[in-house]
Symmetry: C2
Subunit: 351 residues, 2 copies
C-alpha cells in the first residue's frame, strides 16, 4: 500500500525550471518507500504573463490549493523589461500565494556547511533560523500616492501588524527554539517604529513567560546586521517582521556561502492550505538556461518540505547528502553543471 502525496510545482522563470528539475529528482530519490510524490506543473511567472497576460488566474490558484505542498523555483522577468512594468509578478504571484495560503511562517534556516565558503574571515559555527512573518507588515500592499507623477506627489506605504498575526508567529518561534539551542532574538526597530515595535515587544515578552527555558534577546535591525558579520554564531532563532526578515535572510545567505545555498519554507502551520518551498534566490535571468545555477538551495527546500510533511528521516537524508556533496565539491573545486549537482545528490541518496 503506497500513499500518494500531491505536489504543485511552479518552476517559474529564469533558472527556476532548471533548479526545480533537480529538486524534484531529489524528492523522488528521497521519498520513503511507501510514498509516491505526484507532481503537477503550473506554468506561472513572467514568461506566462508575457505570453498570455495571466499572472495567477483564480481557478489555477484554486487547483494549487488542492495539493499537499508546493515547490516553487523563482519568478520574475528581466529587471527593467518594459513589458513587465505594472504587472508586478512578485506581488501578483509570489506574495499572493503567501498571503492567500496564509503562509505566516517564512522559515529560513542558515547553516554554514563544511566546504561552503563564507565571505567572512572568521564566521564561526553559523547555524540559525530566521522565522520571518509572511502575511503582514510592510508587505500588505497598503499604500498609495496622490498627485502621482507631479512635483507634489506624496507616496505612502503602511506596515500593518496585528496581535493575532504577531503572536502566532512568535509562538512558533519559541516552540522551534525549544527544539534547538533555546535562544531567541527578536529583531525590530522599537525605538523608531514605536507602535509596531511595542506590539512585537509586548507579545514576545508575553509568550516568553510560557517558555522559561528559552533565553530571549532583543536587537534593533541595524545592530542585528552588525552581528551578522561580526558574530553570526551568537544566533539560534531570530523572529522578525516581513521586511526585516527579507533583508536579514539575504544577508544570512550571503555570509553562509551564498544564496545559492539558502532554502526557505513558506509554512501554513495550521494546515488550512498547502505550504510552499522555494530557494531564497531569484530567477537570475542572466544565467538562465545555461545549466550554471546551483540547485542546492532548491534541494534544501525539498528537505524542508519533507520535514514539514512528517518525513523527518527523508529530510535528514537530503540534508546529509547536501552536506556530503558540498564537502566533496570543496575538494575537487571544479565548476558543476546544474544537473551534475542534482545527480550527485541523488547518487548519494541511492547508494
Amino acid at each position: 500500500m503506497s500513499r500518494t502525496v500531491s505536489i504543485a510545482a511552479i518552476p517559474g522563470d529564469g533558472i527556476g525550471p532548471e533548479v526545480v528539475a533537480e529538486a524534484l529528482k531529489v524528492l523522488h530519490a528521497a521519498a520513503p518507500d511507501d510514498v509516491d510524490f505526484a507532481i503537477t506543473e503550473f506554468e506561472l511567472g513572467a514568461g506566462r504573463y508575457l505570453e498570455t497576460g495571466d499572472v495567477l488566474p483564480d481557478d489555477e490558484l484554486e487547483r494549487i490549493k488542492q495539493h499537499d505542498a508546493i515547490v516553487l523555483g523563482a519568478v520574475g522577468g528581466v529587471p527593467g523589461d518594459p513589458r513587465l512594468v505594472g504587472a508586478n509578478i512578485e506581488r501578483g504571484l509570489l506574495l499572493k500565494l503567501r498571503f492567500d495560503l496564509d503562509h505566516y511562517v517564512n522559515l529560513r534556516p542558515t547553516v554554514l556547511f563544511p566546504g561552503a565558503v563564507s565571505p567572512l574571515a572568521h564566521p564561526g559555527e553559523v547555524d540559525f533560523v530566521v522565522v520571518r512573518e509572511g502575511t503582514e507588515g510592510a508587505y500588505v500592499g497598503n499604500g498609495g500616492s496622490m498627485r502621482t507623477g507631479t512635483p507634489h506627489e506624496v507616496a505612502t506605504e503602511v506596515s500593518l501588524n496585528t496581535a493575532y498575526g504577531v503572536e502566532r508567529l512568535v509562538r512558533y518561534a519559541f516552540q522551534l527554539a525549544t527544539t534547538r539551542r533555546s535562544k531567541l532574538t527578536l529583531v525590530h526597530k522599537t525605538n523608531v517604529l514605536t507602535n509596531a515595535g511595542a506590539l512585537w515587544k509586548r507579545l514576545t515578552d508575553a509568550v516568553a513567560a510560557e517558555y522559561p527555558t528559552v533565553a530571549v534577546d532583543y536587537l534593533h535591525i541595524d545592530a542585528a546586521t552588525i552581528f551578522f558579520v561580526t558574530d553570526p554564531a551568537r544566533f539560534d532563532v531570530i523572529v522578525t517582521d516581513n521586511l526585516f526578515g527579507d533583508i536579514l535572510t539575504d544577508l544570512a545567505g550571503a555570509i553562509s556561502g551564498g544564496i545559492g545555498l539558502a532554502a526557505s519554507g513558506n509554512i501554513n502551520p495550521d494546515g488550512s492550505a498547502p505550504s510552499m518551498f522555494e530557494p531564497v534566490h531569484g530567477s537570475a535571468p542572466d544565467i538562465a538556461g545555461q545549466q550554471k545555477a546551483d540547485p542546492t538551495a532548491a534541494i534544501l527546500s525539498i528537505a524542508l518540505l519533507l520535514d514539514h510533511l512528517g518525513y523527518a528521516d527523508s529530510a535528514a537524508r537530503v540534508s546529509d547528502a547536501v552536506r556530503a556533496d558540498l564537502a566533496s565539491r570543496a575538494e575537487t573545486g571544479a565548476p558543476r553543471r546544474t544537473s551534475e549537482t542534482g545527480d550527485a545528490i541523488v547518487a548519494l541518496l541511492t547508494s
Copy 2:
C-alpha cells in the same frame, strides 16, 4: 582678525561625553589660524531626562538653532531601563533635531582605512558614501495602534515619501557622485513597496537625465546587503530612504572596521539651520566612563563638520591624521584609552 564659529555640543549619554571631549580637542587643533571655535554645551539625553524630566525644551532647541553647527556624542540610556519607558529619547531628541533642523541629507561615508580590520576575508577597496534621507519615510512617527494591549490590537507604521523630499536628496547624491567616481546606486524595495518605490525610481531617473556622466544602478535592499559583504568595492554613492539607510550604514560600519570608525553628518544643505555631526554608534552605557570607547568616529565627524563649514583643508588634515593614527595603531596593536587616541591625533595635527 579672527572669525568665531559657534558650535553647540551635545555630549549626551554613556560614552558620548568621552568621545565628544576628544572630538572637540581635535576641532581646536585642526582649526584654521584665523578661526575660533566657540563651544556651548547642552546637557541633553537620558541622563538629563532622568534628573529633570526634560527631553528637549523648546527654548533650548531655539538656542541650539542659533549656532553654526552641532556636535553630538550619543544619546540613550541603558536598554530596558524601566524609567525610560515611554520617554523615547531617540524620537524626542535625536530625531526631533534631525526633523526640526531639516537635516534631509544624512551623509555616511564608509572607508576601509589601512590598518582597520574588516570582518570580511577579502573586502577590497571600500570607499563609498551612503546618502540617507533624514526627514521622511518610516521615521515620520506616523503610526498608531487600536485595541492596544489586547489580543485584537492592530498597530501601524506609515512611511511617508514626498517628491519634494526625495528629489532634493537625490539631487544632492548625484552632485556628490560627480565629485567622486561618478557611480550612483539607488537602494529600495520597488517590487514590494510599489508606491514609494515608484516615486524614488521616477525621481532618480529624472535627475539622472541631468547628470549624463553618472552611471546609475538600482538594487533591492535585500540584494544590497549581499553586495555589502561580497563586493563592497562596487559602491560609490548610494542613495536610499531613512530606514534602509539606517540598516545599510550600520552594516557599512561593521564591514569597514567597526562602527567605532563610522562618522556621519546630518546636513541641512540650504543652511536654514545648523547641520549636526555625530558618530553612527550609540551611547554604549556598558563601557561608559571607562575610557574604553574609540573616539575615532566622533573625530571623523569633525572632519565632516569642517568640510561642511568650508574648511576643506582642515577637514583633510583631520582625515589624514586619523588615517596615520589607524595605521600606526595597527602596528603596535596595544589597547588605547579614549583620550590617548584623541591625543595621538592632536599630536599628528600639530607636529
